[in-house]
């Protein structure tokens, strides 16, 4: 049984993915059927007909109801069965589970745990994804690996130098010391890497037009378990924000990942890149989409291999951690604490203590 942290919000889909076709996704091992009612409300039902367990995601909508594609059991958005084939009596147990759903920032969040604890105010935010001052490209790649491997990957960006050389990696990334900060009350891990005089990788050279060396800031804000934000600032070398806090000479890219465990050994890797420059340049959008997708697929290939290696090892096989892992260790400890609290039946409110 996977050590899932259930009483938390997870991204199940982009808003644009949930419509009048039923979408099947598995979150924390729970198969979901997602769709949108005629009034625009996104809903999530258990993706199994109570009758013979046919996937409702392989069925059809009739108005706001799902008609099972096997024998016609029909369910409303509240999960209640409203029609069964050939008879008048609807068995009392004929209903499927529903899951709390909330949409924020173009993301569809779902709550798999105790519905009574589903507090929408606790959904972490990524406002750039739905802000007209930004242009966003996005995608989702399935990962055949446990979600913790993606957390490790994203909390330690020194791997860019080696795994993503030629796109976002330069020598300075691995060579620059990091600062790590854990906010105990809010449950956030911050990892900051500030490069003052770095080579400009193609990802930024082609999108910003900067030809020389750059000042490059990578400020990670991880809100476990699901949301990862990379606040990236790029500017010509030694060009800093102005004393008043404005930053007209900087290029800002908000890289957002939603790390959603699907099963014990698979993960949805939602990724988005929002920028505040070249807003009307479709060529830049296409370039950033293709480049970031390539980067994500490089991560996916590496982590899929790593999953196979780790799965074949005895549990507890020793690792080695060095300075670059300081942020990743903090994230691991926070996730472990949340999992322990969940296993102990602790309520998720107030915010989980987040000491690493």
């Amino acid at each position: 049984m996977a050590d899932f942290i259930k009483n938390q919000w997870y991204v199940a889909a982009y808003s644009a993915e949930v419509g009048r076709e039923i979408l099947g996704r598995t979150v924390l091992g729970e198969a979901l059927a997602l769709y949108r009612t005629g009034s625009g409300q996104a809903v999530a039902l258990a993706d199994r007909c109570v009758h013979r367990h046919f996937p409702l995601s392989r069925s059809q909508l009739a108005g706001d109801t799902i008609v099972c594609g096997y024998h016609g059991f029909t369910y409303g958005p509240d999960g209640r069965c409203v029609t069964v084939p050939g008879q008048q009596r609807i068995p009392r147990t004929a209903r499927v589970a529903t899951y709390p759903v909330a949409e924020r920032d173009s993301l569809v969040w779902v709550w798999i745990g105790d519905p009574g604890c589903a507090d929408e105010s606790r959904i972490p935010r990524a406002p750039w994804l739905a802000d007209e001052r930004y242009v966003t490209v996005r995608g989702m790649e399935p990962l055949a690996a446990r979600y913790g491997l993606l957390v490790d990957n994203l909390l330690d960006l020194s791997h860019e130098t080696y795994l993503h050389d030629g796109s976002i990696g330069t020598p300075e990334v691995a060579d620059t010391p990091i600062s790590t900060e854990v906010d105990e009350e809010q449950g956030v891990v911050h990892v900051s890497r500030r490069m003052s005089d770095a080579a400009c990788p193609p990802f930024y050279a082609r999108s910003t037009g900067i030809s020389g060396r750059i000042t490059r800031w990578q400020d990670i804000e991880y809100r476990p378990p699901c949301l990862y934000l990379l606040h990236s600032r790029v500017a010509p070398a030694r060009v800093l924000p102005r004393p008043d806090g404005s930053d007209p000479d900087g290029f800002h890219v908000e890289v957002v990942y939603a790390i959603t465990p699907s099963t014990e050994h698979s993960t949805y890797d939602f990724w988005a890149v929002a920028r505040d420059f070249a807003l009307d340049d479709e060529g830049v959008s296409q370039f950033l989409h293709d480049s970031n997708r390539m980067v994500v697929l490089q991560d996916v290939a590496a982590l899929n291999v790593l999953e196979q290696v780790i799965s074949a090892q005895p549990p507890g096989t020793q690792e080695l951690s060095i300075n670059i892992d300081t942020g990743g260790l903090a994230a691991r400890r926070m996730l472990r604490r949340m999992a322990d609290q969940a296993a102990a039946g602790a309520e998720p409110v107030p915010e989980p203590a987040s000491v690493p």
Partner: protein, 66 residues
Amino acid sequence: MTGVGAARRDDLPQRARGPTLRIDWRPGTDLLRGTCHCGAVGEAEDPVLMWEWLLAHPRHTSGLAP
């Protein structure tokens, strides 16, 4: 081409920051410097030991402390 400097984290609902634990990798060295929310400061060359020292609050008693 220049960035337009759009607002960034200012867009978010402002949440009060709580007590923090901090580890800075001192530039030019392999040393990590840990700062507890109580103000205690310690140094180590191993992030696992550094976190353990911080998490020992309020008993920062290991040999890591300066």
